[in-house]
Symmetry: C2
């Protein structure tokens, strides 16, 4: 199974600690990794078809404090599509003058939608097909960039159409919000004042967030499995779609 | 003035040497840098709004031998658009299931085309507007991915329409070919057997390509100004469009 990591914050925040936790799980997920960082409208997008354990790029991400308000990362265990750069999540497209980034954990069976619009897959994965279809359907549903609430309503209609083809845990962001859909395995955690020391689940590494934050900071972390001990991770219900803005879930 | 670097090769080749030469010119081009590497259909795309002299990402690119058949790099001195990630070249879009990458040196005045199709700028530069317009016009001219020759014919019609708005030196690639258009400053160099030692123009660094190549290897390097001494760089004529495939220019 692939592993997802998402982060949405109200102030630009680095993900070195969480990404280190994710990368320790790369032994069984050796078929590439990728991570995308929004900085306002801009985007940094790193992909490597080497394991997050071995890649010099992953080393850079663990040690270069890139501050971002929306992050999506993925480590891959290939199910559909060969191990190649073009099949490495997250995927990126532009719509309405905004970059969109998508990563998927799961496996869609018999999913061959008609892609008749401006979004075509470059690689061979079910995941990129799903992303292109989502972009196409969003573009059809709205003629210009809609509000977060409108986008969420459209996505809530589209998710079940994908999820009926198989497991569909996914993260999606346009830099303004982060949408997360849980199908089988997805958890989220809200971190806010008062911050304290936190310990990774899989590695002997801890950080005291109180030393790196202010009382106003708020961060939502979304991951396939909880990354830390002793924090109140919440499991997504099957079919649940959540929208995170400024480090907190939006009520819908 | 910004600086462009392109590479097209018949075998995956790294650009550590050429990029090092480019980065030494980053003192006067401190407003960001970017580099995109095609690996087959896949793409690695690094951008940083820090100078190529100071950026940890640039250090990675200088020392991590990423082998690619098509590379486009750019170091920026801002003319239009603030210094921000979304204004950093090269820009990336998807068309016909292929990634396209574009970088521009120059300045387009009064260039505000109608962008009525699927390609909208994310940032504020004249360059990204030009790229979106090129993608739109290519998409209108061909209903599916055409041959390199057909693409080149369409691009040859489009280039003058951009160049009449100002200086338009540009590099464009879809991973199959690299197109270069010269307006004021652009040079190319063909390296092939027998390879020998080469010395950078701006830095006390040399490399003996004979030790890193085979007799079949062929590489075209395109740059704003010649990067090396004692090699036969050729200047583009004003308005000249060249297409490089497998490390050599295609006759048109």
């Amino acid at each position: 199974m692939c592993q997802l990591l998402g982060m949405n914050a109200n102030t630009p925040t680095d993900v070195m600690f969480s990404f280190t936790g994710l990368a320790t799980r790369a032994d069984e997920h050796k078929d590439g990794f990728g991570i995308a960082f929004f900085e306002g409208r801009g985007l940094r997008h790193f992909v490597d078809h080497h394991s997050a354990r071995a890649s010099p790029l992953a080393e850079l991400v663990k040690h270069y404090p890139i501050k971002s308000d929306n992050v999506i990362a993925h480590i891959r265990k290939a199910t559909q599509g060969q191990v190649a750069l073009e099949n490495t999540h997250p995927f990126q497209r532009e719509l309405w003058g905004r970059y969109w980034v998508f990563a998927h954990n799961g496996n869609l069976v018999d999913f061959n939608p008609r892609l008749h619009a401006a979004f075509k897959p470059v690689g061979q994965t079910d995941s990129e097909r799903a992303f292109c279809w989502l972009m196409q359907e969003l573009a059809k549903a709205h003629c210009d960039v809609p509000s977060i609430a409108e986008l969420s309503a459209t996505l809530a209609e589209l998710m079940p159409q994908l999820a009926r083809h198989g497991t569909f845990n996914m993260l999606l962001s346009n830099g303004q919000a982060l949408w997360a859909h849980g199908s089988t395995h997805l958890h989220y955690l809200l971190r806010a004042h008062p911050f304290g020391p936190v310990q990774l689940s899989d590695e002997d590494l801890s950080v005291d967030f109180a030393r790196h934050t202010t009382a106003q900071d708020r961060v939502a972390v979304i991951a396939t499995e909880p990354l830390t001990r002793d924090e109140p991770w919440v499991a997504f219900a099957p079919g649940e779609l959540k929208v995170f803005v400024d480090g907190a879930p939006l009520a819908r």
